[in-house]
Amino acid sequence: MCDTCGCGDPELVSVPVHERILATNERVARHNREHFQDAGVLAVNLMGSPGSGKTAVLEATARAVAGRARIGVLVGDLATDNDAQRARAAGVVAEAITTGSACHLDAEMVHRGLHRLPWRELDYLFIENVGNLVCPAVYDLGEDVNVVALSVTEGEDKPVKYPTMFRKADLVLLTKVDLLPHLPGVQVERIQENLALVMPEPRLLRVSASTGEGIEAWLSWLRGRAAAGALRRTAGTPRGARADEASAGPAAARG
């Protein structure tokens, strides 16, 4: 570069990019989603604060479906595979994804985790995200549905404090409802009102992993979502395939 006249100075050009910064994650997520849909697996991204009861809900779910559906779990945690061990003890296949310092799972971590799990044989794959109400909301994993576990002790205003997480939820599980009699200050109506401020279609199910309350309703919601997914697949198959076969559930739809 010349100091006298500036000849050889770099030329500046302004380049429009207009690209989604997380496009790479979204590409891998799309790939995961296609895998799940082709195999007829309903993938559930289960999120929530640390201690909100995600693993306990999965344990209760595993106990309740025993023999009726095949369940697998991928568990994200910063360290330890304790939650995967708990899921295995409840009788389902489970693998841990240890994220190290990462505060969320991304689509690539899930994709690698799938290699260690016989996921194609499942009806439901639960991806238990890292306990965190902020970061996991930003990353698409390729899931079919987003579910947020919110425990009754967390405060009625959690939805408005973490709007991105709750806005993206297809369902909120209000967990530990067996504690409500001991919490006179907690009003479920207030939680519902706050959800309506951030979720256009607020759906809240009350569950208790310890008493089993609401678990059948939760299973029924899952079956409905799996059937809707199967119906979409059938609609894409050649003429002659019957859409109503799908309503019996994902296992039946796969024949």
């Binding site: 990019v17 505060c103 806005r167 401020l197």
Partner: protein, 113 residues
């Protein structure tokens, strides 16, 4: 602190673009971040300042445009008024997000030889 992961992903996209234009460096990075995207602007800025040393962006300032959250009716009844709930006042349909969740690399000012 996913803002660090976002900045890493952004550097990947910047490098791809810079390579495609045979650029020697980057002078300015412009991004658009929705207020409902789940990204903390101050943390994004800190992450950018922390990681740009030794990259093509070493001398590049960052402009961050914040995009407000807007909801609309999915059946064409227009935008919802703020604070009036998340269903359309005319037809009652659940609202759909129009803007506010974007995490976009908008424009780069590149040094070309």
């Amino acid at each position: 602190m996913h803002e660090y992961s976002i900045v890493q992903a952004m550097f990947d996209r910047i490098e791809e673009t810079a390579r495609a234009h045979h650029a020697r460096g980057v002078r300015r990075v412009s991004v658009r971040i929705g207020r409902g995207a789940g990204v903390e602007i101050a943390l994004l800025r800190t992450a950018y300042e922390t990681f740009r040393a030794g990259t093509l962006c070493e001398a590049a300032a960052i402009d961050i445009e914040e995009v407000p959250v807007r909801w609309g009716c999915p059946h064409g009844h227009g935008e919802l008024r703020i604070g009036m709930g998340l269903s359309c006042a005319e037809c009652g349909s659940p609202a759909r997000l129009i803007s506010g969740d974007e995490i976009i690399l908008d424009r780069l000012e590149l040094e070309v030889a």
